[in-house]
């Protein structure tokens, strides 16, 4: 495959960036999108040009490290992570525009790399369960109904890649926060901190500069793990309950 790539280049956070155009040839359709970028980087290296910086880690779709805006879609045209997107999803001669996640809460560090520390800080505000140390309790000591366990597990598949924020016209992280709220709120261990969790995580979400949710649904369509919009309803309901409880 022969491709024209229009890629966002930005030397560092403080310097203005711009779209640069590159040509790559002999791209196999079995390559992943990141492998295609690796090929381009080798080409740039041999030409003495600075290679393009992008995030990646496991390259098997489970770590949430990679994430690019490809032709206006978070993680590209398939419902998967960028590392699991293959070049067979594109056609020979295509022009592909590649941009970093765009949100003021996710500042660009270099080229296609953004700082998603905002997500970590939201998690720090309650995306966990406080447990005193000691011997591990028996696994069956706390019964969990199957439906609740399933829903918690589905919500827990969120890998925090940020595609929801990137695809949201409001730059909202509601799907991410909703996934964490649902995951922990479905389980008995999550009940003790349920009210303070939602209030603090949403306050941090707002503080980081993410936008409000308008329930349009671009996030769930872009989510590589298919987290449904239900979790945002759950987030709202937990917030209503917290307000009723006087938080």
């Amino acid at each position: 495959m022969r491709l024209t790539l229009k890629i966002w280049r930005q030397p560092d956070a403080a310097t203005a960036g711009a779209i640069h155009t590159y040509e790559v040839d002999e791209i196999s359709e079995d390559m992943s999108f990141l492998e295609m970028l690796d090929v381009l980087n080798e080409q740039l290296n041999s030409e003495g040009e600075e290679p393009i910086a992008f995030d990646s880690d496991c390259r098997e779709g489970i770590c949430g490290m990679c994430g690019l805006m490809i032709n206006g879609e978070a993680h590209g045209p398939q419902v998967t992570t960028t590392c699991q997107l293959h070049m067979r999803s594109f056609h020979d001669g295509e022009t592909i525009t590649v941009e970093p996640w765009r949100a003021d809460a996710f500042p660009v560090l270099k080229d296609l790399v953004v700082d998603r520390g905002a997500f970590d800080r939201i998690i720090q505000q309650g995306g966990y369960i406080s447990v005193n140390t000691g011997a591990a309790p028996d696994a069956h000591a706390t019964p969990v109904p199957k439906d609740n366990a399933d829903r918690a597990f589905d919500a827990a598949t969120c890998i925090g890649c940020g595609a929801c924020v990137a695809s949201c016209p409001n730059g909202s992280a509601s799907l991410f926060v909703g996934a964490k709220i649902t995951h922990l709120g479905e389980l008995p261990q999550g009940q003790a901190e349920r009210d303070s969790r939602v209030v603090n995580m949403v306050a941090q979400h707002d503080h980081e500069g993410f936008g409000g949710c308008t329930n349009i649904g671009e996030c769930t369509a872009a989510c590589p793990k298919g987290i449904p919009l239900d979790v945002i309803s759950q987030l709202n309901r937990d917030m209503l309950t917290a307000i009723k409880h006087g938080h």
Binding site: K6, R121, V199, G211, G212, M239
Partner: protein, 251 residues
């Protein structure tokens, strides 16, 4: 091709990069969150949904003729008597609607500004293929509806403007004179299309914001309810102007 800088270095409030604890919120309050604003929008929006349903029903009285329509208009003033004073019910309604409007619009303005600030550097290419057109029309459509409401009140309530220059003291005749004017009917039909779109997304969105759509089935039900109610309300409102212009409803 040049683009504005993505980050204004050092300008991000109190954020210290990579020192996570420095930016954690203290004394967070639920009622100051974006979700609280959304809940206010949902509740005030539901007041309007109830109102437009009742208003649409009242308008259809035009099909029953001059006397039935004007009697209905008079009954609205007598509603609740003798427990309420004359026009008492209408004034309660007006106050509730005005408060809802102020809440709905001010929450929308705050959230709109937040959303603009959340992404100051735009994408070169951005597709929104997975959301309805109506959902992207909420803000500008809402603004259109606000302008329409101002005109509508001048037309029929506060100013009573008869565009044909006739009398304004007879509600039915004012209605027929207004919609007998093609351009005015066109404005109203456009506004009803906007209202339909606003309701189509707004009704389901309010259910979601109030936390009532926690599974796939309830979400589908809320979306269907939104669409059906939007068609009924916008369609019901449109019938009267169309039938006046067609000469079916006459003086």
């Amino acid at each position: 091709m040049s683009h504005p800088p993505t980050v204004r270095a050092g300008a991000r409030r109190d954020t210290v990069p990579f020192v996570a604890t420095a930016t954690l919120v203290k004394n967070s309050r639920s009622t100051r969150s974006t979700i609280a604003l959304k809940i206010l929008m949902a509740v005030s929006g539901i007041v309007f949904i109830g109102f437009v349903l009742a208003h649409m029903y009242g308008n259809l009285k035009a099909f029953a003729g001059h006397d039935a329509y004007n009697t209905y208009a008079e009954h609205l003033r007598e509603f609740g008597e003798p427990m309420l004073p004359h026009t008492g019910f209408l004034w309660v309604l007006r106050v509730v609607l005005l408060v809802s409007l102020v809440v709905h619009v001010s929450a929308a303005v705050v959230l709109w500004r937040r959303a603009r600030r959340a992404r100051t550097v735009k994408y070169v290419v951005k597709k929104n293929n997975h959301s309805t057109w109506a959902s992207h029309l909420m803000r500008w459509g809402g603004l259109t509806l606000l302008l329409f409401i101002i005109w509508h009140l001048l037309n029929f309530t506060i100013g009573k403007i008869n565009v044909q220059g006739g009398s304004t003291n007879d509600p039915y005749n004012l209605l027929v004179d207004s919609f007998d004017t093609w351009w005015l009917t066109l404005i109203y039909l456009f506004a009803m299309a906007m209202l339909g779109a606003h309701l189509h997304h707004g009704i389901w969105s309010s259910m979601q914001t109030l936390g009532l759509t926690n599974n796939e089935r309830s979400r589908a039900r809320a979306k269907t309810t939104g669409f059906v109610l939007a068609v009924i309300i916008a369609g019901g409102f449109s019938l009267v102007p169309i039938f006046v212009l067609a000469g079916v409803i006459t003086k």
